[in-house]
Symmetry: C2
């Protein structure tokens, strides 16, 4: 089992949550992925392994995880939220969205992070989070 899954479950416990089946299932699915998933994808994945869970419970679990900082909510457009595990010590990354096939791919770039940090200090605005989304094509249409 992924380290993050144990971490998340223990943090949930510490925050006073009970160990319900639906929430645990959501945590386990998230733990299998390094990049952002939608609520629907998580639900489908659970359904595929016959662990049927109410859609509402998926959303509730994600909301709680987000509140505890255990996942990040990523919005790459198209009106569907995505969530991904925040691994302690893990690398901060952003996303490229293929406008041809809808694929979402992660990337990271220290120089970009430095630019944003410097900028954040300069602005008259208390920056808490930042998100960079690149749109374009991953090359899926090449044969």
């Amino acid at each position: 089992m992924s380290e993050w899954v144990e971490h998340a479950l223990s943090e949930l416990g510490r925050a006073g949550y009970r160990r319900g089946g639906a929430r645990t299932a959501v945590v386990e699915v998230l733990g299998r992925h390094s990049c952002a998933r939608t609520a629907l994808e998580i639900d489908d994945e659970l359904r595929a392994e016959d662990r049927r869970v109410g859609r509402a419970s998926v959303y509730r679990a994600l909301e709680q995880l987000d509140g505890l900082g255990l996942v990040t909510k990523v919005d790459v457009g198209h009106g569907t939220a995505r969530y991904e595990p925040v691994r302690p010590g893990g690398h901060h990354h952003h996303h490229m969205v293929c406008d041809d096939c809808g694929n979402v791919l992660p990337f990271e770039d220290p120089e970009l992070e430095r630019s944003i940090d410097r900028l954040s200090r300069r602005l008259d605005f208390a920056v808490a989070e930042h998100e960079v989304v690149l749109h374009g094509s991953c090359g899926c249409t090449r044969h």
Copy 2:
């Protein structure tokens, strides 16, 4: 009238669109703002000046303008799309979103743009657009 309004109306004409009332009204509202508006805000603004327009027409006009590159669709999360005029020669900018009051403010930073350009060249991905969103607080809760 804003220069962009004339530009947009003429481009719409060149693209073969007729000069309908609803679309023109949407263009005029957009032209009054330099930063991103939602479809609902545009609709409200029109309603306030007794130029009632069907909600669907607002969405249709925005879609067409986006298709011609006359506006940019900006997604700062919260599940609501925003649109802003693309002024020829205007500065490329990004957005800060106040998580306390929902305010959306523009900023620009040449260094950040350079970082993204360099990064884009390095990636195995054809970057067409990019979007940076800063979340945090604009200070509205200070008294």
